[in-house]
């Protein structure tokens, strides 16, 4: 589904991503792990088009997306959750979610003549999603008035509602309480059951080992190991990177 080939991104003399290659299989959860500064978020920024690679290729669904814009990549089916919450703070929860459903809202004339209605189908999707994250009563709350955990859930919901073939999630459970972490784990496993493909970055090893089908370990911009969770857990290179010699 997604193939990254010899990807390179340097910031001055810093090799953020260096000859990085890996592949994501459909209908799996793949975790990208590694110590701070390993280049994981840079890889995410390259995949979602926020940064442009110095060299290498990113192939998604047999299409080279290396030089495409973030919006073009999103429209091809890659939906992203950021590490820091990036909700539209002055819009309500419902408005935030509605924006993810399609791009009809960018068509000026259609909207001017009132031809882009919020259909019952859209309303139902929003209601279902809010029910899933236990936030039915927050539909009309401004995003800026939510707690951190609630913001995280709404942002995850927005990424899920954005039509996609691949979800890329940057630290989905960072800074959230254990109850919420359990909720997010359930949501992600349910998505996988339904056939979604997920690539995530996470520092929490318990969460990663529990949820991931495949783990890719990065250090200093390179992939140093990959395999199933049990394999990775016992890999001496990985242990060395995480715990030191």
């Amino acid at each position: 589904m997604l193939r990254v080939e010899n990807l390179k991104k340097y910031f001055g003399g810093v090799k953020a991503v260096d000859e990085c290659s890996f592949e994501i299989q459909p209908e799996t959860i793949t975790a990208l792990i590694g110590p701070n500064g390993a280049g994981k978020s840079t890889v995410f920024n390259l995949i979602s088009g926020i940064l442009k690679a110095d060299s290498g290729e990113i192939i998604f669904d047999n299409k080279n997306i290396t030089t495409l814009s973030p919006e073009a990549i999103s429209n091809l089916g890659i939906s992203r959750l950021f590490q820091q919450t990036r909700l539209f703070n002055n819009l309500t929860v419902k408005e935030n979610l509605l924006l993810a459903l399609d791009n009809e809202d960018t068509k000026f004339w259609k909207n001017l003549f009132g031809l882009n209605k919020i259909t019952e189908e859209k309303e139902e999707k929003i209601r279902e999603m809010l029910k899933l994250i236990d936030m039915e009563n927050f539909e009309n709350t401004l995003a800026k008035d939510l707690s951190y955990g609630q913001k995280r859930l709404v942002e995850l919901s927005r990424a899920i509602l954005n039509p996609h073939k691949l979800l890329i999630l940057d630290e989905p459970v960072a800074g959230v309480n254990p109850r919420l972490r359990k909720k997010i784990t359930e949501i992600l496993l349910e998505l996988k059951e339904k056939g979604d493909t997920i690539l995530l970055i996470e520092h929490d090893m318990n969460f990663t080992l529990k949820i991931a089908d495949w783990i890719i370990v990065m250090e200093k911009g390179k992939v140093i190991a990959e395999g199933e969770p049990e394999e990775i857990k016992n890999n001496p290179k990985v242990i060395e990177v995480y715990l030191g010699e």
Binding site: S74, R80, N89, E95
Partner: protein
């Protein structure tokens, strides 16, 4: 005499309202700190005046003013699309200076500092009827301007309430997050600037046909200050606040006329008054009267 003065003030309120709500669309709703708004106003005024002086009917001049300003709105969006905040403000301010300089120096077209006198008052056939409407009296012009400003208000209110308006607000709140949802913010920001410019253009046309004389001094950056004050004092992303602030800010300096100061003092005193109100609002009510968001 009093009623003529009152009508004059109401006409000014209507023209300023169109200018302010259209600036609110780009600044308050889309987050584009656009200081080129006065240039769109100038383009509309000159386009309409020049066409009318060459015998074109009012409706044509009026619409052409909006369309020309809108076209320049699109052209301005091309080089400024990646700019934000202060940088966008500087670039659009540069555009205002360029338009002012052209109005001042292209004397064969605009007569430069001598200005364009004798701009005809609007007069046009009512569509589908044999009647001809002449807006030669100030009262009839007020009714016409009031209708246009009401229409402009309703249209902009409809735009900002529609799903398209929510995309404008999303772009203002977080442009990258909007792009990640698959929306072209280049298109969104260009459209916002074009709509905003269109209404500034028709406000310029109304001004030119009302005063019947325009010169470049009516379109300096100083003239933008009251409009920007209205937007900030009314509150960013609030149309209701914009209406109230327009009425207050247009009427507030009027008592200065009756104190008996010479006109050389009244002008600067007006600017000082605006600056003072703006300062007080920013200190004690940073969101303005009904602002949804704070000025960053």
């Amino acid at each position: 005499m009093v009623s003529a003065y009152l009508i004059h003030l109401l006409i000014l309120i209507c023209i300023y309202l169109i200018l302010a709500i259209s600036l609110q669309l780009s600044v308050g709703f889309t987050g584009l700190l656009n200081l080129g708004h006065i240039a769109f106003y100038a383009l509309g005024a000159y386009a309409s005046a020049l066409l009318a002086l060459n015998g074109f009917p009012f409706w044509f001049c009026f619409l052409a003013a909006g369309i020309l300003a809108m076209l320049f709105g699109f052209l301005l969006s091309l080089p400024t699309n990646k700019l934000k905040g202060d940088y966008l403000a500087l670039a659009t301010m540069g555009f205002s200076f360029v338009v002012y300089a052209v109005a001042l120096n292209w004397t064969s077209l605009t007569r430069g500092p001598l200005g364009l006198p004798g701009i005809p008052k609007p007069s046009f056939h009512i569509p589908l009827t044999a009647y001809r409407l002449s807006l030669t009296t100030n009262l009839s012009f007020l009714i016409f301007t009031l209708l246009i400003s009401l229409l402009a208000y309703l249209l902009i209110a409809h735009i900002v309430k529609s799903p398209f308006g929510k995309v404008l607000e999303a772009t203002r709140d977080d442009e990258l997050a909007t792009r990640i949802l698959g929306k072209s913010t280049f298109k969104i920001k260009s459209l916002a600037l074009m709509i905003s410019a269109f209404f500034a253009g028709i406000a310029g046309s109304l001004y030119a046909h009302y005063i019947t004389f325009i010169d470049p001094s009516s379109f300096t950056l100083l003239q933008l200050i009251p409009v920007l004050c209205i937007v900030i004092i009314g509150g960013l992303a609030s149309l209701k606040g914009t209406v109230i602030a327009t009425i207050i800010l247009v009427l507030l300096p009027e008592p200065l006329r009756f104190i008996g100061f010479p006109s050389s003092i009244v002008g600067p005193a007006r600017q000082i008054l605006y600056a003072l109100i703006l300062l007080l609002i920013l200190i004690y009510k940073p969101r303005g009267f009904f602002g949804k968001i704070e000025l960053e």
